[in-house]
């Protein structure tokens, strides 16, 4: 961990033990306007979401439902028009190293001349800060993460040579070396092969055992109950009731269904 002098961002709250807080994400009445939209249309219209620490939550909905927008807002990439988002009790941009965000694959320039281990190493940057170069420990973590995702043999490949599934594994490996407590995944299993699907599911399951929290956007209703602990259904920027017979699991939203335990519902 770098000293505050060289850090990209100083964080006064990080003395808190990982997993000490019960609620990893607490979104209340979040409203976000589409970027550059002059009519002020809402990409998120009063969403509330609570994800207990150490669980895997799915944001489910069709394209344009607001899943990506919500993840970006939690990652601190989009400003809120109203409402609040807290991660581990702090405002979204307070404890940056605790949050890992996996963008949709299209948001990365895969033609850039960097190899797979170079991409994964960027997960260590938040711990390195300015001027510091990766050391032996950083390289060891990168190798271990590549091993864990089953892509160690691709370490020297330029990132554009990877298949979609391999790219997704590389991004997850980066989130692992970042050692974040909260992982935000945007469509991690969109159009990937079965091997990647299994590898990603295995790692996410193991992360839960380590007390990490996972929030993933998906438009895939299949296997939700196997891969996630709870699901919030979105449509047109709002939370909607789950489709009949659909997986719900832990209550993540505000209004439905009935909260299971004391202190889970907001307000």
């Amino acid at each position: 961990m770098s000293g505050p002098f060289l850090a990209y961002h100083t964080c006064p709250h990080c003395r808190v033990e990982a997993g000490a807080e019960a609620i990893a994400i607490d979104v209340r009445d979040a409203t976000v306007i589409y970027a550059g939209d002059r009519d002020g249309r809402l990409a998120l219209d009063g969403i509330s979401l609570r994800v207990p620490a150490g669980t895997r939550a799915a944001l489910v909905g069709p394209n344009g439902a607001g899943k990506s927008t919500l993840l970006k807002a939690i990652a601190g990439l989009l400003p809120l028009r109203s409402g609040t988002i807290r991660a581990y009790g702090q405002p979204v941009d307070a404890c940056l190293h605790r949050v890992a965000y996996l963008p949709q694959r299209g948001e990365i320039d895969w033609r850039f001349p960097v190899d797979v281990k170079g991409l994964v190493m960027t997960g260590r940057y938040v711990h390195l800060g300015w001027l510091r170069r990766p050391g032996r420990d950083d390289h060891r973590r990168v190798s271990a993460a590549l091993e864990r995702l089953g892509i160690a043999d691709l370490a020297e490949r330029q990132i554009g040579e990877l298949s979609g599934g391999q790219q997704q594994r590389a991004l997850l490996a980066r989130a692992l070396v970042q050692d974040a407590d909260l992982l935000l995944l945007d469509e991690p299993l969109n159009a990937v092969d079965g091997g990647t699907r299994a590898a990603v599911a295995r790692v996410l399951d193991a992360l839960r055992g380590e007390g990490k929290t996972v929030v993933a956007a998906t438009h895939d209703l299949g296997r939700l109950e196997v891969e996630y602990d709870g699901a919030l259904y979105l449509s047109e920027g709002r939370a909607v009731p789950p489709p009949p017979g659909a997986f719900v699991g832990l209550p993540l939203g505000e209004a439905f269904p009935e909260p299971l335990g004391v202190g889970v519902a907001t307000g």
Binding site: H9, G76, L77, D93, P103, D109, W110, F112, T122
Partner: protein
């Protein structure tokens, strides 16, 4: 005396060679980022936009280099600022600003009687570099190389994955400004060698040739530097023996290297980009 060494018995050829080396190193290294981040148009715009600064400096008897630097920095920051707004598209804004500044430079030049003195600004005259200019060029190389080396991690990351950069607390816009400032330093160096009209060639062509040959960033920079250095030396010889314009000879040497790189890639069987 050997024909290879003969030109360099003259002081102006020695200075020219050193200046060419400085220009080659700075243009080729930062040029790799210009190519990878698709900033070629901005580089071209910067080269044109420094013209009024140079002319104003000339008219007032100031150092041309200082005038160029001031205009380059103003343009870099202005482009950075303009493109943050969404009212005008980025390439449109750049097109409007740089043609206006270039026209202003031409207008000011037309008030000067001796166009000959200023033609070297348009077309470059690396053999007219003074020892003072050389010191400034050396400084540009040191600053550009040091910045690219010290900020390698951050420049690389913000180039291919700005979202991750932002999530971990970096400001991609800030690094973009920095790159624009470094670019304006570099462009000013390039103007000494090949003039405002051809400077973007020194930025782009060596880096483009290198990008055909490797997909590793450090290696790409090394190859780009080699291409630029070879081209500068070849251009100097051409200007000495064939008595052709040095700037144009340097640029065409770069183009020849690009052609060879393209051929090599095609023969090796890799799909050309």
């Amino acid at each position: 005396m050997s024909p290879l060494l003969e030109p360099f018995q003259f002081g102006f050829m020695q200075t020219g060679l050193l200046a060419a080396l400085c220009v080659g190193v700075s243009c080729a290294t930062i040029g790799v980022y210009v190519v990878l981040r698709r900033m070629a148009f901005i580089g071209d715009a910067l080269a044109h936009a420094i013209l009024p600064g140079v002319v104003i400096a000339y008219l007032n008897g100031w150092s041309l280099l200082v005038g160029a630097l001031a205009a380059g920095l103003a343009t870099a920051l202005g482009i950075g600022w303009l493109t943050r707004r969404e009212a005008v598209r980025e390439d449109t804004a750049i097109g409007v600003v740089f043609t206006a500044l270039f026209a202003l430079g031409i207008l000011l030049m037309s008030t000067v009687r001796s166009f000959r003195d200023l033609s070297s600004i348009l077309f470059g005259n690396i053999l007219g570099v003074t020892p003072e200019d050389l010191w400034a060029l050396g400084l540009v190389v040191v600053v550009v190389l040091a910045a690219l080396m010290l900020l390698h991690k951050e420049l690389q990351l913000t180039s291919f994955d700005p979202s991750h950069a932002r999530v971990i607390g970096l400001r991609p816009e800030g690094l973009r400004y920095l790159l624009l400032v470094l670019l304006s330093f570099t462009v000013v160096a390039g103007v000494q060698a090949v003039g405002v009209l051809l400077t973007s060639a020194l930025l782009i062509t060596p880096a483009a040739a290198a990008s055909l040959l490797t997909d590793r960033l450090p290696r790409m920079m090394a190859i780009a530097v080699a291409v630029a250095l070879i081209s500068c030396v070849v251009g100097l010889y051409a200007s000495y023996y064939a008595e052709v314009a040095s700037g144009a000879a340097i640029v065409l040497s770069c183009t020849a290297c690009f052609g060879l790189a393209w051929l090599f890639r095609a023969l090796r069987g890799a799909p050309a980009i």
